[in-house]
Subunit: 440 residues, 2 copies
Amino acid sequence: MKLLIDHVDLLDLETLEVEADVAIAVEEGRIAALGRAPDGFEPERRLDAAGCLALPGFYNAHCHSPMTLVRGWAEDLPFDRWLNERIWVAESALEEEDVYWGAALAACEMLRAGVVGFADHYFWMDQVARVVEESGMKALLGWCLFGTGPEHEVGGASFDTVRSFAERWRLAAGGRIRTALAPHSPYMCPPELLRRMARAAGQLGVPVHIHLAESDEQVQRSREQHGVSPVAHIAALGLLEPGLLAAHCIAVDERDLELLAREGVFVAHTPKTYMKLAMRMAPLARQLDAGVRVALGSDGPASSGDLNLLEVMRLTGLLQKLERGDASAAPLSTLLRLATVEGAAALGFEGAGRLAAGAPADIVLMRTDRPHWIPRHNLAAGVVYASHPSDIVHVIVDGQVVLEGGRLLTLDEERIRAEAERRASRMVGAKMSQVRTYRG
Amino acid sequence: MKLLIDHVDLLDLETLEVEADVAIAVEEGRIAALGRAPDGFEPERRLDAAGCLALPGFYNAHCHSPMTLVRGWAEDLPFDRWLNERIWVAESALEEEDVYWGAALAACEMLRAGVVGFADHYFWMDQVARVVEESGMKALLGWCLFGTGPEHEVGGASFDTVRSFAERWRLAAGGRIRTALAPHSPYMCPPELLRRMARAAGQLGVPVHIHLAESDEQVQRSREQHGVSPVAHIAALGLLEPGLLAAHCIAVDERDLELLAREGVFVAHTPKTYMKLAMRMAPLARQLDAGVRVALGSDGPASSGDLNLLEVMRLTGLLQKLERGDASAAPLSTLLRLATVEGAAALGFEGAGRLAAGAPADIVLMRTDRPHWIPRHNLAAGVVYASHPSDIVHVIVDGQVVLEGGRLLTLDEERIRAEAERRASRMVGAKMSQVRTYRG
């Protein structure tokens, strides 16, 4: 379909300069032209976006989207009680169809916040794939496997289940779905399982998405059991390949960082979870200085509370400035790059996440006329340090308009909210009032 | 006027329990009843708030509201360049009427974020007082004075100017306006000026609002010049009185904290500025443990980017958990208390900032049906860790509806945005496109 988006302000994410009153021509899912429409371009559809800033779509590089169902269920608790007494107890009541509704709820929230793609790591992932297919989003999906032996079955999964999932949905939905193999972590998976995962990933031509080096305790245990750090351990097992998506990498030394950089690994940085669960802050500056590619993620909503990448950018910038005692640290252009083009690359959509002729048409249109934006000395600063998800009025993914004028076109939001809330109540064994909708 | 707010969910800020479908009766600016309307209560006006959560209004305990005009004008710069090369240069072009429009813009933003009152510290404060009068908000207003001698004049002000301002507007606007004397800080004001301020405050029966102990350098300079810490220095000058509002108090030792606690001082905690300007984080836990009363503030939008108290609560909680390595630190009830009842007390509105029969009717009604709220296992967690200002649909201050269905009733928002942007452009000598309004 030929789509013309008219009268937008265009922000250059590197120079931070704004070009006013620009047209964006979209054809066959890609940006055909920026500036003015090509001669003879006859749009089938026009989107008047006067008063809107155009940005590339945001990418969430690490999530457990169905865990929306347990958000708010474990607040202000130490990590072990959070996990053992609350999250795992609630998840033990999880049924396969719950995964669909939890992920659909997450998709509503993410699209409303300008997130066009996400890397997900959970169970019963066919359900998440259905949500991605229907919503129009993009995703890198991996069915999480952990266990004490190669044949161990948890979360409805065996090795064959997760491998066949990765094969079944690989490049589905017109290429919007990419798949990964998703061993939980080196501390939850025996070496033989990790080695099999690495081999299967190579055979299928898909990446691995894993949790890595989250704490000093994990590093110490790895040294005791395997003689090396978690990074070196998975390197020896063949997992450290270009495109590996490693969430967190908090407890890493210079040698680990060198390995991650050399092998072209993507690190997913999820600061809200590090703060809310009182983990340590990941060493983002050291990671970037070492040449490691980093993208931003929300992590699961059970730990982060929400799925707002605008806030993740903001927290990343604020924390870097504070930690380094330097107000010029983590400049706006870096934060915007990590949340867009680096996020897209981390999901395997290399070349997406930017507004340029030829790039996939993943476009967020954000109004900048609300009081918290005024005056507009610096629109990039407005995006990172003041904007709200509700400023986003239109979202386009691969040329398809999925949010228009604040209305989701691909998902039945009201039904999703009601189903998700009903199922969440069942999981925690509580009677929860059904969704009451404000009728203003 | 008799107002009935119907069908709300009521959150108890201590127990975090929710009572569903409650009525709030408001009479003569106060809450007459909570639960159901008193017998014979005949409202002149009804506000149907079905699907909304009722919360007390939020109070912003430290702000420089007219500095909205320079927000975004100095990004990613070290503190001294931020101040000397950008903020002070822009402020040197400030005209008296600019203050009105900058503060009016801030009022629009704050009311939309559920902030019903703010403590402001700036110049030409009659203009800010006009905004407070017109907007229906509450405020503690102090005209900032700094100088090298007792007769020094800066920012259009002399000692007599700021003293007569405090007298002129004291308890104006039906008691919604309180005034303060506002020496900038011990490092910007000579001892004799501070002593005169303390005496004048005592005579007028108003508090002092001051910046205090923001850095180790300030402490060191105070010890060199006065032989004691900034806290002890202002104590010796007679400023450490009950009700003193001291912004920041970052570089404080146990003796300082003991003094602040004993004298009934309020500390304003403004974490977003500490992060964005790469100052140190204030020791909130030590302050609270020492028995100091603390309220939350945005600081000026030039340093914080915006005026969103919901985000300030969130940052406060996340930072406390991270810093203390304890996910149970800064529990929801504490964060909500600091942003409401403690904020009100810090502004001199002791007893406000809570929903209780007899309390001033400062009420925020927030819809909880958007995807980022679902499921509603814990509404308090939704408020602190997921809500957006756009969830707020109605705001009531002293019984007056000032925001209804997302529309500001007391301020001409469109005109304010255009005037503020025009004046901001003039101040920085830049040509800025006029506000373009999104017409969706």
